[in-house]
Amino acid sequence: MTVESTARAKTPRSGVKRTATKTTKKAAAKKAPAKKATGAKAAAKKAAAKAPAGRPEPEMVQLLTPEGVRVEHPDYTIDIDADELRGLYRDMVLTRRFDAEATALQRQGELGLWPSLLGQEAAQIGSGRALRPDDYVFPTYREHGVAWCRGVDPAQLLGMFRGVNNGGWDPNSNNFHLYTIVIGSQALHATGYAMGVAKDGADTAVLAYFGDGATSQGDVAEAFTFSAVYNAPVVFFCQNNQWAISEPTERQTRVPLYQRAAGYGFPGIRVDGNDVLAVLAVTRAAVERARTGQGPMLIEAFTYRMGAHTTSDDPTRYRSDDERAAWEAKDPILRLRAYLENEQLADEAFLASIDEESDTMAKRVREAIRTMPDPPAMSMFDNIYADGHALVDEERAQYAAYAASFADTDEEGN
């Protein structure tokens, strides 16, 4: 029949099935339900645990099992040396540490809010490290790891969550656009930027990050359409962290998200989002496609939001500890660490040095935030227009006079 039925779409095909099954079986063979592990090693060796309830588990690219064992994939290989491997480890550890520090700073009242990336380090570092400096990134509000890869000063990321600005870094100094809060909007900006890249004849790639929830927004669908029609060099990087606040991915789709792409005329792929090597390999391939005029691609990084949606959220209201525990066994950092240790690519000294670097970085961030000045009241009239606006000038002047009247009062009061 000519109907492309759901069932059929879900059936793995040809080589795909073979490999995916192989990988999965290998992982499964080592699995056994286990209580929450405490130490890093224990966790790494722990069973990868069951898939989220009721979710179909299609093939996904994996190069490193949850236990830290390298496996091969017929389509994606990775050429990476020991230094780079250690670099990925360092990136992930520092990112996680930064994230924890930000969460702590929120608890201490230094930030109004913090959206933690805990658990998504591999998805972000793997994709972020696949990029060249001239590539351009359009993030959501959670891409702290990608920002790290782009060289954005971590302290700068905190400004908007402290309430001193709405972003404020210069997107062009690191080719990392401002955080975008309104879900899905940035997919179109990325697509437009990529259309411009193509017009310029450049071989820059553009990365559009968004979440599983965002895939429901019309803007993301329109970005798919525009990117396909103009064959724009944009990679859509969807971090499916299983949740959009309290809503599981089943509230957004009933088939795996990566399959969305085919109906728009470009490839989609699911990658183990907790496997930094697989993410790196797949993103490199997608970016290469973009550079060489092959157009857009959708990557679904299958991962998990280990923490709350933001510090304002209470996930105990909508999900179980079991689920989290199962995902802890797939921790992105632990698995790379296990691999490094097994392969004797990281010794105690190296690991200690990273921990130390983390401490230093965290301290620096803490200090930076605590001394971050509040913006002056008059700043609310700044940068509304590039070329000025008479009403803003008028309101600025009126407010200045009004504020000055208090200064007088204060003086009088003295």
């Binding site: 109004g112 809010l113 908007m160 969550f161 402290r162 309430g163 001193v164 600005n165 709405n166 809060i181 309104v182 879900i183 929830g213 965002a214 429901s216 927004q217 019309g218 803007d219 959009a244 606040i245 309290s246 809503e247 509230r251 957004q252 304002s312 959220d313 209470d314 209201r317 909508y318 509040d374 913006p375 009241a377 700043s379 609310m380 009239f381 509304i384 606006h389 009403l391 803003v392 309101e395 407010y399 009004y402 009247s405 208090f406």
Partner: protein, 327 residues
């Protein structure tokens, strides 16, 4: 049973929703995270547990989709109450609201009705990040076919929502989120009056302050502070933004001769402009000063650490009062 109880506004709304759902099986709740989580403000807390997933619907993350399907459900005979998570996220649904929801009754020459309520937690003062503190009411009030209201206390929150749900027209229900979890007021035992009527909440003779939603409290504070200086200020809680109850404002201004309108939304093209224009027309010979407006500036809502300066707080309202009285 909320009537008679003293409840925070958020709980009053929760209770009102519960009552509406008990009274009418066609009432549905739709929105992001309204189910298990009970909404990010817990306004719909417990409702899915009691009324089921079929009536308290966690939707995909797509506001146009939410309002568009709510329209379809209304056409099928349901009365959807849609929650938009924050003010700044209503715009993806703007086309469906303005082009479809607002106009469909007229388009059908009255043959179909669109009893859809869109609840928007709005306005600022909660120290939030961008898009979480906006006051977009003017963008809806300008559009024929919509009704817009904003309660300022728990009792109105409870009763006005009942009335909005019973209304056969689309109603945009602006909830002052900064007031959600204050102590709250007692819910009156009966309907406190028609939905689209302003209320004199403090009598005075020298000047009228008109406010709605989150600025009503500030207006009252300003009246109190002014009283200490011997000025008698009348305060109106407008309650309804489309229509605006000009009759009540007119009566007040004919008495006081001076009017200051206070809202958080930017003043430029805001509600205050409409009030000023029409009241000046109606009360031209009574006004001893131009109608003054105290509100937001022509600027994006600023970062949290500046919002106190941006918002029309007590000092800025008193400044407006001073300026009006100086004429």
């Amino acid at each position: 049973m909320a009537p008679g109880e003293k409840l925070p506004i958020a709980k009053a709304i929760n209770s009102s929703l519960r009552t509406a759902m008990e009274n009418d099986p066609k009432v549905l709740i739709m929105g992001e995270d309204v189910g298990k989580l009970g909404g990010v403000f817990r306004v719909t807390d417990g409702l899915q547990k009691d009324f089921g997933e079929d009536r308290v619907i966690d939707t995909p993350l797509a506001e146009s989709g939410i309002v568009g399907t709510a329209i379809g459900l209304a056409l099928r005979g349901y009365r959807p109450v849609v929650e938009i998570q924050f003010d700044g996220f209503v715009f993806p649904a703007y086309d469906q609201i303005v082009t479809q929801l607002a106009k469909m009754h007229a388009r059908a020459l009255g043959k179909i009705k669109l009893p859809v309520v869109i609840r928007i937690p709005y306005a600022g003062g909660i120290g939030a990040v961008e898009h979480h503190s906006e006051s977009p009411e003017a963008l809806f009030a300008h559009v024929a076919g919509l009704k817009c209201v904003s309660p300022a206390n728990s009792s109105d929150a409870y009763w006005m929502l009942q009335q909005a749900i019973e209304c056969d027209d689309p109603v945009i229900f602006f909830e002052p989120k900064s007031r959600y979890w204050g102590k709250g007021e007692e819910i009156s035992r009966g309907v406190p009056g028609p939905l689209h009527q302003a209320r004199v909440i403090r009598e005075g003779t020298d000047l009228t302050i008109a406010a709605y939603g989150p600025t009503v409290r500030t207006a009252l504070q300003a009246a109190e502070a002014s009283a200490e200086e011997g000025r008698s200020i009348e305060v109106l809680d407008l309650r309804t933004i489309s229509p605006i109850d000009f009759d009540t404002i007119q009566r007040s201004v004919e008495k006081t001769g001076r009017l200051v309108v206070v809202h958080e939304a930017p003043v430029f093209f805001g509600s205050g402009a409409e009030v000023a224009a029409r009241i000046t027309e109606r009360c031209f010979y009574h006004l001893e000063a131009p109608v003054l407006r105290v509100g937001g500036f022509h600027a994006p809502y600023p970062p949290a650490r500046v919002e106190e300066e941006y918002l029309p707080g007590l000092d800025r309202v008193l400044d407006g009062v001073d300026r009006a009285l100086a004429y």
